[in-house]
């Protein structure tokens, strides 16, 4: 009898453990979200966490297609500068407040404020107005056929809650600002924030009143998100079963994970390009050893550096073939991409060295490279490899690598001479790249352009894209801009990343090209 009782107890325990396992998703990646304020950072991992709790008018699904979210449908009105969005009825925020057009107007205005990191995406928006409680209209400065693509990461906050908690202004991250919304959330999304310790653990619970019941699988009832910076610890956590899903499997461990029983790898090319930027606009650099002039200001130096980087070697050794070398700072997903732009410059350190000598630096020069160490796949190893390659071309590079939370402000405050950056293109259009990375740095555009590159004529071309309705003309302008970017070697492109997600067998979760896992789409196959 004793034995029967024991067997029954074990069976019950197993059953309980089984169901609990099936519902809790333990998820790890290298770095944490930088803030919970949905408009304070335009950065992948920050948006990824926000997407579980907040929603925009529309979103991209797991294959990258735009689908309705808080708006049920949208269309351009008879006036080509006005878009009309019909909002979903009966949606409420986690705090119980009803979702209305006022919240949409409020959130868009908030995202256009000076401290917002999302304002480039709304640069063409002149006005947003409420028509009735469930209809809003967005007025653009000229006709903007691509507006919806700019709104996929634009989250809607509750007006009353945000005002009550003095968070009307987005958190000013670049200047060390803080606010209530950076530590608390009140969205309409499928998951509700339960607890969060920055850089350690964030727990989310399923939203019992979610509007999308029946529309999405919603099989996960609890998300435990743990950033694990060390590649070895992260992979050990997956192998030992401590986590169920990791977003960035170290490239050296792909084979091992794929061969492990009960684990699988899902991969796909990512919509993200990795490159280096150089401060070419300054009169003198902070960290170089050349007084009174800026070696990066000379296009010959930049061409030589572009030539010094052996992208094939980085792909073979550092990335273990998990990258696509490129010569342009946009992934092939993006409108405006073509093979000519993408062509990889021939790597030749000897020629590069001669070019740098001919540009006036026969003894080379010294400069500091700022590199993140928890953001992109093997970011620090790529930087180290580039330090060696530039060293062979005569440039002595001092490497300073640090976590992204300290690295990104250097770029946003333009206090770096030479830096690594990766860029995903959520709109799948070149204009997004130009607005953030090519347009001269200003309050509205060029916020991630730390190169100091300015060209008024080019800026005008970039601005004209937003309201150009003739696709052929627009594409021609896009190509002209790219040709100038390439000719002036504004950036040193390295490669497009290939995404590898590692997960337990039994989890059905296709790799999203923007590296944005939306957990509400996750389902279990057994």
């Amino acid at each position: 009898m004793n034995r029967t009782f024991l067997a029954a107890a074990v069976a019950t325990a197993l059953a309980v453990a089984g169901t609990a396992d099936a519902e809790t998703l333990r998820w790890a990646r290298a770095g944490d979200s930088l803030t919970l304020d949905p408009h304070a950072q335009n950065e992948g991992p920050t948006h990824t966490l926000a997407h579980q709790m907040y929603e925009g008018l529309l979103q991209r699904d797991m294959s990258g297609e735009i689908i309705p979210s808080l708006a049920t449908d949208w269309a351009v009105t008879d006036d080509p500068t006005v878009w009309r969005f019909n909002l979903r009825e009966g949606v409420s925020f986690h705090g119980g407040q009803e979702f209305t057009a006022d919240d949409v107007v409020f959130s868009f205005n908030r995202a256009q404020k000076p401290t917002s990191a999302m304002k480039e995406l709304l640069a063409s928006v002149a006005e947003i107005r409420k028509v009735d409680d469930l209809t809003v209209e967005i007025v653009t400065e000229g006709p903007n056929p691509l507006l919806p693509a700019n709104l996929t990461n634009l989250f809607i906050m509750d007006e009353g809650w945000t005002m009550q908690n003095d968070s009307e202004e987005p958190q000013d991250i670049a200047n060390g600002g803080d606010n209530f919304a950076a530590r608390n959330t009140n969205g309409t999304g499928a998951y509700i924030l339960d607890s969060r310790v920055v850089d350690e653990r964030t727990v989310l619970q399923a939203n019992p009143d979610y509007w999308g019941m029946g529309e999405f699988p919603l099989e996960v009832s609890e998300i435990v998100f743990t950033p694990i910076q060390s590649a070895a610890t992260r992979i050990a956590a997956l192998l030992s079963g401590e986590v169920d899903f990791i977003q960035d499997v170290p490239v050296q461990d792909l084979a091992r994970v794929d061969q492990s029983d009960g684990l699988k790898i899902s991969n796909a090319p990512q919509n993200r390009v990795i490159f280096f930027g150089m401060n070419q606009g300054a009169d003198d650099l902070e960290t170089d050893d050349i007084e009174g002039e800026n070696p990066f200001a000379k296009v010959e130096v930049r061409q030589a550096m572009n030539m010094a980087i052996d992208r094939e070697a980085i792909k073979r050794v550092v990335m273990r073939d998990q990258s696509d070398p490129t010569g342009v700072i946009m992934p092939p997903f993006v409108n405006g991409w073509n093979e000519t732009l993408d062509a990889v410059p021939e790597g030749d350190a000897t020629v590069a060295k001669e070019m740098i000598a001919a540009a006036g630096y026969p003894d080379g020069f010294t400069v500091q490279l700022d590199c993140p160490n928890d953001r992109y796949i093997n970011d620090e190893a790529i930087c180290q490899a580039v330090v060696g390659m530039l060293g062979q071309a005569g440039i002595t590079v001092n490497l300073d690598s640090k976590p992204k939370a300290q690295h990104f402000p250097l770029i946003q405050n333009r206090t770096t001479d030479f830096y690594m950056l990766g860029w995903g293109v959520p709109t799948f259009d070149s204009e997004y790249v130009f607005n953030f990375l090519v347009h001269s740095a200003s309050d509205e555009r060029g916020t991630w352009n730390a190169t100091g590159y300015t060209d008024t004529a080019l800026d005008e071309k970039i601005v004209s894209l937003a309201s150009e309705t003739d696709t052929a003309v627009r594409d021609a302008t896009v190509n002209e801009i790219w040709e100038q970017v390439q000719a002036d070697v504004l950036y040193l492109p390295v490669h497009n990343q290939i995404l590898n997600w590692g997960m337990k067998e039994g989890i059905d979760f296709a790799v999203q090209p923007e590296d944005q896992p939306h957990v509400k789409f996750l389902s279990y196959s057994n």
Partner: protein
Amino acid sequence: MSKIATKATDVADGVAGTSMDTVELTPGIAARLGSIWSSDIVWSFRHSPVTIVAALVFTSLLLAAVFAPWISPYTPFDPASLNLMDGFTPPMSTGMGSGAMYWLGTDDQGRDVFSTILYGMRLSLFIGIAAVAFAAVVGVTLGLIAGYTGGWVDALIMRIADIQLTFPSIMVALLIFGIARGLTPPELRDQMAIWVLILSIGLSEWVQFARTVRGSAMVEVKKDYVQAARLLGRKPHHILRKHILPNVLGPVSVIATIYLALAIITEATLSFLGVGAPPTSPSLGTLISIGQDYLFSGEWWILLFPSLTLLALALSVNLLGDWLRDALNPKLQ
């Protein structure tokens, strides 16, 4: 670490006893004191095989580190000399890019592991020795001042020491490292990283020196020969330097040896955490940190060889420290 610290205190007490007794028997004759000590040491050294092995290991590692530029086949700290295509070459194989031979293989950047260990050990030893020397100078000076002056100066110094002891020394080192790094101009950070490490490890370890020296100094101050020197009108700094300092050096040398092992490990820990030596000139800790990423993917040599070297280095220094403590402890003779 706390175990080592306790040992250091034991040693300090034991040795303070020795010097006190000896001094009472033969006051002021430092030379004879020295000869007695060294003969004891030689005797106990000859009768401890473990110590002989430890000394041999330490000496050979030290020589290898000192002569690294002549011994090592490559110059791993010069990024321009690396061939990325040689990355991940297994031990006793030739690189794919250059066709060069690597005895212990290469790491992820194509650096020769053997050469990198030699240079890394050189860095680790230099930082360790310099940090302990710095800690000893700060600790002994403050300890002498506290023990000799007494009163509020003593109270102030020792309270600071007590407060610092309540924090783990690795945390103190991290804190000082962060502040010092913030104050360094960015273009000098790489060059300054090593000096900042020495400063932070040194400042995190001065307390034990200060406490020991203060104790011994307080005992010495009350002795007749110090009183006599005072009556003769000697200046305090002269008395401290000429009379008290030689009598407290015994315990200091034991603590210094044990703390050398500790400093090497602290440096390795800091570098392992990514805040120590710059990635382009790796110390042993940096190498282990790099190797750890390849623990599961089969490139075992990147982790194994630096780890073994660090183990041998720290263990041999620690064994030498243990032996020195026992050799100087009259209760164990």
